[in-house]
Symmetry: C2
Subunit: 149 residues, 2 copies
């Protein structure tokens, strides 16, 4: 990346902040910071809103991915989506597929953390689904994972 070409290192970011190491992680790769396996929040399209919320709370990322039987990404459901669904009058037994956001913003595991932050900013979101070359989810990354000291 240009950042690396300019000779920036994670330590430059670390040293540049009086509070310590804010930004230390920005030149790491998404795969080094993402939540995988049992820490990746995922439900099926038929999961009830009620059970999807338990998954969101359990995995602590403020959202859950919705995956089909072949583990392909169908959509995402965030705390903000819950609020909007709740305002419309939500039934806790509704399958999540009827209220999820279809698609969902993704990034690859080999991307730089700084580029994940940029993608989040451009979309005003705080979490990304991490996908492989076949567009299959392999994890998720939160803004906090990218900026934390």
């Amino acid at each position: 990346s240009l950042l690396e070409a300019k000779g920036f290192t994670p330590d430059d970011f670390a040293l540049s902040h009086p509070g310590g190491s804010l930004g230390k992680r920005l030149l790491l790769h998404v795969e080094d910071l993402m939540h995988t396996a049992e820490n990746f929040p995922a439900v099926t399209p038929q999961t009830s809103v009620k059970d999807a919320l338990l998954e969101i709370t359990d995995k602590r990322l403020g959202m859950t991915a919705v995956l089909d039987g072949n583990k392909h990404l169908l959509g995402i459901f965030t705390d903000g989506d819950l609020r909007r669904a709740f305002e419309k009058g939500i039934n806790v037994d509704t399958p999540i597929e009827s209220v999820m956001t279809t698609g969902g913003k993704t990034i690859t595991a080999d991307a730089l953390a700084v580029d994940a932050v940029g993608l989040m900013e451009r979309n005003s979101i705080t979490c990304l689904i991490v996908v492989d070359e076949q567009n299959k989810p392999v994890g998720a990354v939160h803004m906090h994972d990218l900026l934390k000291a």
Copy 2:
């Protein structure tokens, strides 16, 4: 700040990112980036959960402050708090004071944006209430406001 002492300028941050100007705002002050007046989400303790959600959606920060009659900060209610309250079985007519988080993390308007990011990271939150010397709320700032190009 040490950042300024080291000769860092907002333009250094801007130039350091290939995608453009990520971090351009980090040396600005919170007061330059915060949401004030009619863009600051605030409700009274007696406001129903239902009406508090409308305020959150309307002001687009994913939370609302709860202020008493003298405009002092009593608490905050976020999208994450909504999820947790919803899991317990929430009544939309409940006054917000019974489900809000008492207190709420704050910062002053003269703080640097980079320090607001640090405070958010240390607390795993995405929004801060901005208060004056008398601890009265004057606005709010979201992580997105601090990092946006």
